[in-house]
């Protein structure tokens, strides 16, 4: 007979070691997803015991099972509707009383419970001794003492899960004596259980307690399943009022207090010994420094600096090693694609390379992300995160944000060089919905890494005399736009979002485990790759089409074709009568172009003499005649051909660039850029700038690359700075400043947009997060450019003026009272 698969749910309060238990049970077979429809992370895994498969679902850590927070609702819905065969309640043995508060609520759901009394080692160190037999007797559930971190008790836990999930015997459910409320409860229970429909799906006593608590979810269930819901709900409301007037206490409070009283009694009877020492002796000592008025902020800045330094600076250095791998991937792809023609490129080749380039641009970030995610895991596991929130809450609260907005802001680039993708991902932990949304929506306005190349380009052209100052301006001014924006959002579109109390536990410090940290980093990087790749691929293809079509007119095609013939004819004339001439006729000329290209590329990546010699040998073997032309040495005839070939080679390059430029000019995107000029001219953007901004949508790095394609090289090796300066003679530093500010407020990239969709759960917030920065960006750029022109300000003066304005707005909005 095939045995049914067992489904086990893990429940427990935060900091009870639940995730360690989950890891210990399921090992490597874990899977992360979101609960359907909401953004709470759902971890599932499985293991085998006695040949049977056991599925484990890790419920979010919660103190209680009310319907006030998303995590609690999700946990409770899972327990009620998915009907797991068993709940393993992970409880912190050193904090028994508070943990029992949740245990009671699980027991009341009348699902078999195994209590895993975890962190026994910590409890023992604090000289706490618990009589597990007595506890088990009182709760009517198995109690297994463990110290999962060290592996102690794991076998026993597995055994108990096995036994409890197989046992068919129905034992008397655990009941809390709610004292003076008992008579009210039994009246409600009687009314509810008269309805067979609901009594079959939900424990009637549980429903009675929840209804007396005034729980909104319970009322919804009642409305859905009861036959005469209004009548019963009115009855419950009457009973609630009656209780309150009789006992001068809200029923929900009475219930909670009773639970604590019972928890107190039970824990007292189970505790054999407890010395009254502060349980967080060492952590408290550490906090004297870490949360100190003067030292605290200094340490915080140090930690943030280290986070930047390790992930952004060192991670960027790491890309020096990983980029060649990606480049190799590209050249590998290139080698299997059809070769380009003299002036025409096969569409499949162009598209595939564009595609690989787009994906590579994102994969290049993987080392940075890996380090970043690892460091975040360390911050989370060590217990420093709540301290960060504690120190900065006051400041952020003034702008409608939350102490826990600190980490996302730091990751997003509070100074310069963050990344919005992990920043938006890390917003998940913010309990205050209003602050969480405001943080998610404003993070893209911070300075991510990809905005930097354009800043550097513009500063080098237009603020060459004041590079440091200009860089400082753009690095810090974004925060001065983010804070007022957050305040405005929380007072307008987000004003109806739920706001949560700050109250937060400050758990004792822990030393993070290598396994936990690496595991989480790998998991999150993988999640990022999986989510991003497909969508980025789709967008890349759309952009490709928009940039290359409709393409050249027939007339222009003919023109370029004659240009090509002209160039090749010149070449053949020069090599006439040369012994090598017969080898470069017809198709062979193109073959030589490709050979030459490959050889130069191979030489460029070769390191050391040995490698160069090997490349020479390989190319000589491949085609000895071409090799002579590439490396003529003292062969005079070959030298002649080489010289002529170099000319035709660069003529081809020039033609290709011209064609590319014309294609972009003509393309849908190019036309859109031109059509936008009436709107953007007041901000100082001409159509070329518009096109490069439009093309940056997939990834902002491409802004500079597109400008590179638009401002052509006249001489070999001319820098883009020079080319742009020459190409736009009418541009002033005001143009540069306006463009920099627009880039700062640029709408989120594709990867970030997807994260915004994932974290907010709604497509309309994605659209919102696109439109608002664009409008604001145009407004700011217009203000700076037209305003500066009107007042006759220089670029630098306009910069100071805008900084002053942003600072004043920030301070001003900081004083507006929160609702």
């Amino acid at each position: 007979m095939k045995r049914k698969k067992a489904l086990v749910a893990l429940a427990g309060q935060p900091n009870s070691g639940k995730s360690t238990v989950f890891n210990a049970l399921t090992g490597a077979s874990q899977h992360v997803a979101n609960y359907p429809g909401v953004t709470v992370e759902k971890m599932t895994g499985s293991y085998r015991h006695d040949g049977a498969k056991v599925e484990v679902v890790d419920l979010p850590g919660t103190y209680s099972l009310t319907s006030y927070s998303l995590e609690e609702r999700v946990s409770r819905d899972f327990l009620l509707h998915e009907k797991p065969s068993l709940v393993v309640n992970v409880a912190d043995a050193s904090n028994l009383k508070r943990n029992l508060y949740l245990t009671f609520q699980l027991l009341e759901l009348e699902i078999p419970v195994v209590v895993d009394l975890n962190m026994m080692d910590v409890a023992e160190r604090r000289d706490i001794e618990i009589d597990t037999k007595e506890l088990s007797r009182q709760l009517g559930a198995a109690v297994v003492p463990t110290a999962i971190k060290t592996g102690r008790g794991k076998k026993k836990l597995l055994e108990s899960i096995h036994v409890a999930s197989r046992s068919k015997q129905v034992c008397e459910p655990f009941r809390i004596d709610y004292g003076s409320m008992e008579s009210f409860l039994s009246e409600v229970e009687e009314r509810v259980s008269a309805e067979t429909a609901i009594a079959a799906s939900y424990p009637s006593r549980w429903l009675a307690v929840k209804l007396m608590e005034g729980d909104s979810e319970a009322r919804r269930l009642a409305r859905k399943h009861l036959l005469g819901p209004d009548e019963i709900l009115a009855f419950v409301e009457e009973k609630r009022k009656e209780f309150e007037s009789k006992h001068a206490e809200k029923p929900e409070k009475h219930i909670a207090f009773r639970r604590y009283q019972v928890a107190d009694t039970i824990s007292k009877s189970a505790l054999k010994r407890q010395t009254v020492v502060s349980s967080q002796f060492l952590s408290d000592k550490a906090d004297r420094f870490i949360c100190n008025r003067f030292l605290g902020p200094v340490i915080l800045v140090g930690v943030i600096y280290l986070l930047y330094y390790l992930s952004i600076v060192q991670g960027y250095n790491l890309t020096n090693y990983t980029w060649p791998l990606l480049a190799k991937l590209r050249s590998l792809t290139e080698s299997i694609l059809p070769n380009p023609g003299f002036i025409e490129e096969p569409v499949i080749r162009a598209l595939t390379l564009w595609f690989v380039d787009s994906i590579n641009a994102l994969l290049n970030y993987v080392p940075i992300f890996f380090i970043l995610f690892g460091l975040i895991a360390i911050l989370e596991d060590s217990g420093y995160m709540p301290r960060m929130a504690f120190i900065l809450d006051r400041l952020f609260q003034r702008f409608g944000l939350h102490g826990q907005s600190t980490l996302p802001m730091v990751l997003g680039g509070i100074y310069v060089g963050g990344c919005a993708v992990p920043a938006v991902m890390s917003c998940k932990g913010i309990p205050d919905e209003k602050a969480r949304m405001a943080t998610i929506l404003t993070i893209p306005m911070l300075n991510c890494l990809a905005k930097v190349p354009l800043y550097v380009l513009l500063i080098n052209i237009y603020f060459a005399q004041h590079k440091g100052l200009a860089m400082f301006f753009i690095s810090t001014v974004t925060l001065l736009m983010v804070l007022p924006m957050a305040k405005i959002l929380t007072h307008t579109v987000l004003k109806d979002k739920e706001s949560a109390p700050f109250i937060m536990e400050m758990p004792p410090y822990h030393v993070p485990t290598i396994r936990g940290v690496l595991g989480r980093a790998v998991q999150r990087v993988w999640l990022f790759i999986r989510k991003i790749i497909t969508i980025v691929a789709a967008i890349a293809i759309i952009l490709f089409v928009l940039l290359l079509f409709p393409g050249l007119s027939d007339e222009r095609k003919v023109y370029y074709s004659t240009q090509k013939d002209h160039a090749t004819a010149k070449f053949y004339k020069k090599v006439e009568g040369n012994p090598y001439a017969e080898h470069v006729q017809g198709k062979n000329l193109m073959a030589l172009v490709i050979y030459w290209d490959k050889y130069k590329k191979a030489k460029m990546t070769a390191k050391g003499k040995e490698a160069a010699r090997a490349i020479n040998k390989k190319f000589k073997e491949e085609n000895p005649v071409f090799f002579k032309i590439v490396q003529p040495k003292k062969d005079k005839d070959a030298k002649k051909v080489t010289r002529a070939f170099k000319k035709v080679f660069s003529a081809r390059k020039k033609l290709l660039r011209e064609i590319k430029k014309e294609k972009i000019d003509n393309s849908f995107l190019g036309r859109l850029g031109q059509a936008m000029v009436p709107f953007t001219q007041w901000a100082g953007f001409n159509w070329r700038v518009n096109v490069s901004l439009l093309a940056s949508f997939a990834a902002k790095e491409s802004s500079v690359a597109t400008l590179g394609a638009l401002y052509q090289q006249e001489e070999e090796g001319e820098s883009l700075e020079k080319r742009m300066e020459k190409g736009e003679e009418g541009f002033t530093p005001l143009h540069g400043l306006a463009l920099m500010l627009f880039m700062a407020l640029y709408p989120p990239c594709v990867a970030t947009s997807i994260m915004i969709k994932v974290q907010t759960g709604q497509i309309r917030w994605l659209i919102f997060s696109m439109i608002v920065p664009t409008v604001l960006g145009i407004f700011v750029a217009t203000l700076v450019f037209s305003g500066g022109n009107l007042l006759g300000l220089s670029g630098l003066q306009a910069m100071f003026a805008f900084y002053g304005l942003a600072l004043a707005t920030t301070i001003g909005t900081g004083f507006v009272k929160n609702r």
Partner: protein, 74 residues
């Protein structure tokens, strides 16, 4: 007296919870109930929030929220 007026180092006993709904529930979930003895450990560097010790664990709370806990100083 309400909890927000307690100074760091003060020890007190909870008399009554005037908070309701979400705030009240959250306080109860974290173990604040009449009869509980707690200690104010410190204020944050910018004064707000404050950190409390209750029965061996630590909790941070904004002053504005602590207004809804009535206490008696001991």
């Amino acid at each position: 007296m309400t909890l927000d007026r307690m100074k760091p180092g003060a020890e007190c006993c909870v008399n009554k919870l005037t908070a309701e709904d979400r705030l009240g529930q959250r306080l109860m979930d974290l173990g604040v109930y009449p009869g509980l003895r707690l200690k104010v450990v410190r204020n944050a560097p910018l004064e707000d929030p404050m950190e409390l010790e209750l029965e061996g664990y630590y909790v941070s709370i904004r002053h504005e929220e602590a207004r809804f806990v009535e206490v008696e100083q001991q």
